[in-house]
């Protein structure tokens, strides 16, 4: 009797568990599936049966949960928009693109696991994905071992040039170096460097320090915040001590810390007229999350702003808002992800195949595209040449573009300020040169 009773109880609770998760699944899933189906009735969902003859499978690998979901979700949106547009325009080589979305869960191990799964199980022909350098570094061996292809859409610290990765975001010389030059010319020569405690800010700051020293400026202090830390009072004290009469703050903070930093910067009276700051991780979305009230007058360096005036950009912004809602904004990584899909499509079409990755790769070199940010060209070093812009935050949360380079800047992946990599370059179109060779 006792036994029966307990077993029954177990059944009840067991089914309760299962049921609850089903309910939650149904509700949350509703949202994702319906947002896709609402605007794109024929778009394939994540779990298609087989590749089939008339579809081409690509993978999308970003964090949909965890800390990085904040940034990566909208990149996925942009990639799906591009895929949908291509499909609506007839697909690639007459085939529809089927996107398989995997969640990296802000966990580098998971990224690696999912990358393996996309390549081995789902047999995708290309993967669009990653945001943090750590996630890219973790999937890199997978892509190299399997000689596969990753399109990486975020500005990063350089020092890498893999045969199996195409980088559509900025290399350091396409974002940081021009902005430092501009600051030195227009805003002063005394710098304070603030960054999150990980590889990108540290590398960026190595470059900045070398560059500032070379051009006659001074770096009077630097400090790093652990990711997610929001207690910035000590840093503000340090800035005041280092720059008592004003100066330039170069900000490579990432994520939540930015919000705290700018809110408290204003509270402490370090206003942009005396302490202008240049950020490289703050784009339109971040401005919205921080509040334009706090950021007005500060600067950011990117290749793309939503306010860029090109016909391509107007189309892009409009299409994005139509699909995801009128209040959404676009930003640089989203644009880079968007054009990554188009560049891949052009390469596939030139190569005449999606499966032969070597051919696709070779076809990619030299592809140009009239992107929302202007004309971009895929270089043999797997990075793209792009225009560099400096924007000032307006009170409506958009950027006033105050400076842009006259022409597209060529990407330099290897850091020319670090002794070990000085003078090195990368060229995958020439088998004798490869990922890292000593340039003449």
């Amino acid at each position: 009797m006792i036994k029966k009773f307990n077993r029954r109880k177990f059944l009840v609770y067991g089914s309760a568990t299962f049921g609850t998760s089903l309910l939650l699944k149904a509700c949350a899933n509703d949202e994702t599936t319906t947002t896709t189906s609402a605007t794109n009735a024929s778009s394939p969902t994540a779990t298609g049966a087989s590749g089939g003859g008339d579809t081409i499978r690509v993978g999308i690998l970003h964090s949909l949960s965890g800390t990085m979901a904040i940034s990566e979700q909208s990149v996925v949106d942009a990639e799906q928009l591009a895929i949908e547009e291509i499909n609506n325009a007839g697909g690639v080589l007459g085939k529809r693109i089927e996107a398989i979305v995997e969640d990296g869960a802000s966990n580098w191990d998971t990224f690696r696991e999912k990358a393996t799964k996309l390549i081995d199980q789902d047999r995708v022909v290309a993967v669009f994905g990653c945001w943090t350098s750590a996630s890219r570094k973790n999937v890199l061996p997978v892509f190299e071992q399997k000689d596969h292809m990753l399109w990486y859409p975020v500005q990063y610290e350089g020092q890498e040039c893999s045969r199996n990765i195409f980088y559509t975001g900025a290399a350091p010389n396409q974002q940081i170096e021009p902005s430092v030059d501009w600051l030195l010319q227009n805003k002063g020569t005394d710098f304070f460097l603030v960054g999150s405690d990980y590889v990108f800010p540290r590398t960026a700051n190595t470059i900045i320090k070398a560059q500032v020293a070379e051009k006659g400026g001074r770096v009077l202090g630097e400090d790093y915040l652990p990711l997610g830390n929001t207690e910035v009072t000590p840093i503000i004290t340090k800035i005041r001590q280092a720059l008592p009469n004003g100066g330039v703050i170069y900000n490579t903070l990432n994520g939540d810390s930015n919000v705290a930093f700018f809110k408290q910067l204003q509270g402490a009276g370090l206003t942009p007229d005396r302490y202008p700051s240049m950020s490289v991780s703050i784009a339109e979305e971040e401005v919205r999350a921080i509040g334009a009230d706090y950021l007005e007058g500060h600067y950011a360096a990117w290749n793309y702003f939503q306010t860029v005036e090109t016909p391509e950009n107007q189309r892009f912004v409009q299409a994005f808002r139509q699909k995801y809602g009128q209040d959404r904004v676009t930003n640089d990584p989203m644009e880079a992800a968007y054009i990554a899909v188009y560049l891949w499509k052009q390469a596939v079409e030139k190569a005449g195949t999606a499966e032969d990755l070597a051919k696709v790769r070779a076809a990619a070199y030299g592809q140009t595209l009239n992107a929302p940010e202007g004309t971009v060209t895929m270089q043999p070093n797997h990075h793209i040449s792009k225009v560099v812009r400096i924007g000032q935050v307006r009170n409506d949360g958009m950027f006033e573009i105050v400076n842009s380079t006259d022409s597209a800047v060529e990407p330099i992946p290897w850091n020319q300020f670090v002794k070990e990599t000085k003078g090195y370059a990368c060229d995958w179109s020439d088998p004798n040169k490869g990922g890292r060779f000593k340039a003449a």
Binding site: I2, K3, N6, R7, K9, F10, Y13, T17, T20, S21, L24, K25, A28, N29, T32, T47, L64, S65, V101, E102, D103, A105, N107, W108, D109, T110, R112, E113, T116, K117, D120, Q121, T132, S133, A134, K137, N138, L140, P141, V142, Q145, Q159, D197, Y198, V199, R202, T203, T206, Y224, P226, L227, N415, V418, K419, E420, T421
Partner: protein, 384 residues
């Protein structure tokens, strides 16, 4: 447990051999059959989950048996991973600097990297560094009789501190990115199928070894003392035992197991990063044990496998659900299934066993009204 002691010495020996045979059979099955059945991707997944089962055993030892909830096993896990990775990075660098150091402006090898040139030292470090750290940390905490929730929070804080430390040391440990892109270990390429199979088999052997170790520790007088410490520590003290020594030892053993697990996991996942010291990951380890059934070794292993497979499956199908599901798991396991799956099965099993056996072993017990009443009380209590 009580069933075992009742059978007597000969029965005990017999039970031991039966158990050994079952464990051996399962291990052989995993080593021989699984590689045939599973694709490489799935086999690698299984291998990693099995190495997570080793750390689950460690947590079961410290939590299930000794009653100390550690939320910091990620530290030991990651340290084990770092130890073996440092060796591989040095081997790959072939006398030079590991690649990340030179790329980010490092010029000379930090002194503590030197010993990791030696493979024996690296394997030794996989076990001893986590064990030592656990021992020291444990000693500092236990000697002041800090326990319960305090201990849990302190271990959690330690996790954050270690995360910050490893995360911030770009030149020493490659910061956030961690150590990745492994090439060779002892001259063999780590990424080939055959090497990975060796790692997989080694994981199983180590898991069996860990199981045997925990089995030995938890049966016999030592194991009973651990339970006594869990149930009433100050009573143990008044009986003349010093609980601190025992707790430190168990925590160190548990840390060592986590270190081994971390090393095997790292070898199969191909990277180690401060993410392994994430607060959430360490708490997740606890839930594996809780789901499987704390205080039972099989439960710990089973729980680790089950939860990780559920995660892998669910996050493949519906990414957003996983957190809801994981949260629900935590809630359900503490409210409805406090003894976990194995504990539940066991209590059911033993109840039926006792029901039959008592009929002839202790007829008087069945009739004793006091016993009846006690039992009723126990049942109402447990069903509350």
């Amino acid at each position: 447990m009580d069933a075992v002691s009742r059978i007597g010495a000969r029965g005990k020996r017999q039970a031991f051999w039966i158990e050994a045979a079952i464990v051996g059979a399962i291990a052989l099955f995993l080593i021989i059959v699984m590689p045939v059945v599973l694709s490489n991707f799935r086999l690698n997944l299984l291998g990693r989950f099995l190495s997570l089962a080793i750390v689950a055993l460690g947590i079961d030892l410290i939590w299930g048996y000794t009653g100390l909830l550690s939320l910091g096993h990620g530290i030991f896990f990651a340290l084990g991973g770092y130890a073996i990775s440092m060796h591989i990075k040095l081997e790959d660098a072939d006398g030079g600097l590991p690649d990340f150091m030179s790329l980010y402006g490092g010029t000379e090898l930090p002194w503590f990297w030197e010993p990791f040139y030696s493979f024996p030292f690296a394997t030794f470090a996989v076990v001893t560094i986590p064990a030592l750290l656990a021992g020291v940390l444990g000693y500092l905490v236990f000697r002041n009789r800090i326990k319960g929730v305090y201990f849990s929070i302190l271990t959690q804080a330690a996790t954050i501190v270690f995360f910050n430390f490893f995360n911030g040391q770009q030149k020493l440990f490659n910061g956030t990115n961690g150590l990745t892109n492994f090439q060779t270990l002892l001259g063999a390429s780590v990424n080939t199928q055959s090497t990975q199979f060796v790692f997989y088999s080694l994981t199983i052997i180590l898991l069996v070894g860990a199981y045997a170790l925990c089995r030995w520790l938890t049966s016999g007088r030592f194991g009973r003392l651990l339970m006594a410490i869990r149930d009433d520590e100050s009573r143990v003290r008044f009986s003349g035992y010093n609980p601190t020594e025992f707790k430190v030892l168990v925590f160190a053993v548990s840390g060592a197991l986590a270190g081994i697990a971390g090393a095997m996991y790292t070898l199969q996942s191909g990277s180690v990063s401060p993410r392994l010291m994430d607060v959430a990951f360490s708490i997740e380890m606890v839930i594996w044990v809780a789901i499987g059934g704390r205080g039972t070794l099989v439960g710990a292993i089973l729980g680790a496998l089950l939860v990780n497979y559920a995660r892998s499956f669910l996050s493949e199908q519906f990414a957003e659900i996983w957190l809801f599901f994981q949260g629900a798991l935590f809630l359900i396991v503490v409210t409805v299934l406090p003894d976990g799956i194995v504990g539940w099965l066991k209590s059911q099993g033993i109840q039926s066993l006792r029901g039959r056996k008592q009929a002839f072993t202790y007829p008087s017990l069945e009739e004793d009204p006091e016993i009846q009443q006690e039992r009723q009380e126990l049942e109402t209590k447990s069903s509350e």
